[in-house]
Symmetry: none
Subunit: 300 residues, 5 copies
């Protein structure tokens, strides 16, 4: 395995049609740091995990609070489900790019063979003035076939309408559990490549854990450093810009270290939700300020 | 978890297009108490439970009887299936808002992984002069994927035609039974949030039981009072107005207490069926009068 | 449970558009007894049971024979599948109303979770000059979801083209077997209600057996007389006119007793097949004459 | 010619499907006098005549002013074009029925052979929550063919969606000018009949002038009184309820006399625009009060 | 006629859905002066007038030159035809809002009864990442009927996809010439109203000439000042924000005076083409700077 880092691809290198380029330019150069990096605020946890994610900071249960935070925190975009967009985005329409999340599921039914059903269409996103759409792909699930097929149609619609397609590329399911697990370097690396091969414009990945090697193919069993693993998954995406996600709330320094690792690896940026809004509003803004400072060092 | 109550959202805050706003205004301010609260009469039990629900008051088996009761009781709307609407609504067309229930199932086949199939379309509702449509979403069912996808199409049609979409958001299925059960606070709270995220205009919930904690996530295992649980599910809906449903017939005082709890929590109102019509007509009207008196104290 | 009988609903009370009313008026007042009662001749047994049903009277295997019998016996309509209609109805077109059966299945595959697939469309029925269409709904089957959805589309097409929709509402499947069985009063009563709720214009039911109480809900476990059970299923249809079907061939007196019970309960009439044509032509006509005499006593 | 007056047809006699009946009931019994009469406020003059119609009372150039007047004056509906509805109806949505005018033209191009092009669809009306749609039919125009065909499609859509269709039935064009002129009894009588024959649910007519007999067929050349002419055009509509329109602003007494004539003739009501809003707001309300007093004498 | 000026309507008052609001917010508050005023650069003269318009400054014949000018001049948008957008917008995609002009014609065929045919669709605009679409409506043309009908479909598509619709509302044709002419106050005032009634989100008008009174209706024959005429046409648009266009190149002071008049009248801004780019690049930027200075005085 190579340890090489690849430089972040330029917008002009991504094979984008005019509409996708216009919208990505807007996201990357007219919002956030305006320097080609990206910091997204994801807010689909109310559906994916349920209201319990808001127990520590109940105010965050209000989508309006989150959109306001995205505006005032200077994010490059806020990722929400269609119901929240319909009710809450009007007030802030145009002030922060909307990344409409097109599918989602609750955590209640078994996740042994999950698929994330479509709750909205690319056309819904166009109508709502979104600048991008998001799709969760469960790489490795027993329902992968239906998932890939639904994704292909979303990709076609995103092409038709010129909306950048951000893929939450997540290893999931029984087979994934048996081969390293959903956060293993093997699985995340494979998910990165899969998203690129299937036509993601941007891929969102979890940080790969190179120590989770139980059941992984021999090639992934060797010892690999954390930074090297991040370098690898960014490289595997093959010119698909990568967003690293934060997952559960961790300590600030630890999270910032991860973000630094991502940017060093050539990622486009980060998409941190719970680490941002599972705290008081002012604390959120202070943490965001540190993230911005970090991203300001990686212009393109 | 917060104990805060959120005020009932104003019609102008719901992100509604002109048609949805016109129809909700009509429902809330030209029928019922005309004060922004709502009292709906649901009548899909003949399909959901079968004729046995009419054994105690056989007259209630006649849809005409029920629609008349909705008119004379001053309800904000009557929720019926398409067959009953086709045969019985003409006589009273325009006198009480019609909430056409679009899906439904019999209780006979296994409910281990239920889905409620579409029996009518939003366009049927438009043609029949309905002012709203209703959809039962089985949150947590193993068939959740097909359910969410069918719902998304109904949501799009409701948007297209400007009809408010009322979601019966019901936890159901094996996984739900294993995690608190269908009436547990955890499940009802999650169902509330899910309906809002997916685009309900109004959500109908069962009263949450905070004592049903077997198998629920740790965050929901703490002791919670009844009123606090109702407050929470109303808050989780995030600007989606909430209707609380009554379920099986109970004692009048108990039911009125529940209704009061709902209104105190900021709900839009109640949707009581069996508690209304599983008794003689005059008794129904007397009970309705008490409900109206209660709702008259919560204008907006 | 009430023992009340409800009067047969008048044509003008059924919420029919002009086309449905025109065709039903033709069926009920220009054919058969011309007195508002109905006697249909069903002939889908060749598909549903196979040629064995014709072994006792091989001539009845010829659709032409049956249509001629329907004409000469003065039936209100003959119910056949599309293939038979295409080949044989031309000769008698206009002489007896055609009820085109739109779905059907063979008895060969397992009936544990049956669904009756569509073999023809409402538009086929229009093209063939049919005055009504028929659909078999398997209430309670594990495939109920797909069945309800297919039915909803047939209902919409029947509305669009103004053809009355006759529903063979049949309890079927494992869950039905476990709760009283397909002919139990509980199941037939529920099936009657279901057809009405979903939009049947006429519902065809089997005679309910009030003694089949194994596994039924408590409300149905009480002792109920045969006539009371028939009264109940007619009442549960809620203004949907009911046709009682004969099922397997029985003794004439027994069958006529059942027909009388149906008419006393307020049914629209009967739909007897094997009891009519599983005998010689002249005998068939003699039996039909007795049925006509009975129906002549229930004008409306 | 008969001088008979025909009574105003009841809602139940109009052959309306459920949706049209629901919406007309709402218009006639939940707004205005709530007594079955109708008083509409038309506001398409900005398009049909241009801003000059607002010169005497510039405030009336603001659609919001007019909709407010319709609400506060207690009208049964306000007739506006789609652009005004999109921008201004949201604020008052549900407070007064919207009659969406589907076609319209400017007075600039030649009116020798006019046709009023469609500017909106019935589906637009549904989406905006309108309770009725309006269509201008130029009876007698050289472009009548295209007009009738466009109307037929509008009628079909109005049927499909259950919206009452109000027809501005206006004689127009060179041939009309040569045979009595657009306001002649002959032409208005013919236009009344035409609207009914082609499927109007309500027809809007100008007051017929029985003195304009130049060029009319012999049958219309006889001397006829004004009331008799109005009686006749109402009768010619053949169960299509008639609205009489006011045209240019006249003296109050004269206009009220005309309204009385209309109601005596069995009309549904009046649709007065310039006579209402070409004066100060308070004067408008005072004039409306006199109209309401008149209509209150003709309940049904 | 009133001399009143109406204030520029706020974005929140325009009845806009979320997508239209997002895109207009972006145009008005994230580009140009970012103060709610607008300065558009139109570039459809190559089609409408032919290359002769570029003879004075041949460089302006290159669409890339113009788009660069729009970016560097800080315009709120550049209006171009689809072919230019396909070839030239990619380079600058996202840097300046694209207003895709959907129809257009050459000046070669007779303009006695003109219609501007559709050269692109709203969906083309979405795909190209446009933030608005433009449509030329020839008010008063003998082809007005086909024009209105084509416009209605564009309006529906713009609504469907959430793109603001800018209407070039231009009086044209023989009847217009006979009644004041295309720039007369009467015609421009009527065109302003027409665009609003038919559903424009923004209307682009030529400066009205109150001295062109030959053949106009009496109401427009009175003496009216220039500013009063501009006030009137802005008012007639009735909450439809107005852009005034410059037409042929004039002297800078004269053009700036007109722009000032527009802003004083409550217009949204200006759309100046030839006055901007029919000079050397640097001179263009200097002139633009003066326009920006003017617009900076009219924030909202």
């Amino acid at each position: 395995m190579s340890n090489d880092r690849v430089p972040r691809p330029a917008l002009a290198e991504l094979g984008l049609g005019t509409g996708k380029k216009a919208r990505l330019h807007r996201i990357l150069y007219q919002h956030g740091l305006r320097n080609g990096t990206a910091m997204f605020l994801p807010y689909d946890q109310g559906l994916e995990h349920g209201p319990r994610d808001f127990f520590d900071n109940p105010a965050a249960g209000d989508p309006r609070y989150i959109i306001k935070l995205a505006v005032e925190g200077g994010f490059n975009g806020v990722a929400i489900q269609v119901g929240s967009a319909e009710k809450f985005f009007w007030d802030y329409a145009g002030e922060v790019p909307l990344l409409l999340k097109l599918n989602g599921r609750t955590e209640i039914p078994s996740a042994a063979a999950p698929r994330s059903p479509l709750n909205a269409s690319v056309e819904d996103a166009v109508r709502l003035g979104a600048d991008a759409v998001g799709y969760t792909l469960y790489v490795g699930s027993e329902q992968q076939e239906a998932d890939f097929e639904a994704f292909a149609e979303v990709r076609r619609q995103a092409h038709r309408f010129g909306l950048p397609l951000v893929v939450w590329s997540y290893p999931r399911g029984k087979a994934v559990d048996a081969k390293g697990g959903k956060n293993s370097f093997y699985q995340v690396d494979y998910a990165s490549r899969t998203a690129g091969e299937l036509g993601a414009d941007i891929v969102k990945l979890n940080f790969p854990d190179p120590k989770a090697t139980e059941g992984v193919p021999k090639a992934y069993a060797a010892e690999v450093g954390e930074q090297d693993a991040v370098n690898a998954v960014v490289r595997s995406a093959a010119r698909t810009p990568v967003l690293l996600s934060g997952g559960e709330k961790g300590g600030d320094e630890e999270v910032l270290d991860k973000a630094r690792m991502a940017m060093e690896a050539g990622a486009l940026g980060v998409i941190f939700g719970r680490n941002v809004w599972q705290r008081q509003y002012d604390e959120s803004l202070r943490f965001v300020e540190r993230l911005r400072e970090l991203l300001s060092k990686y212009p393109s």
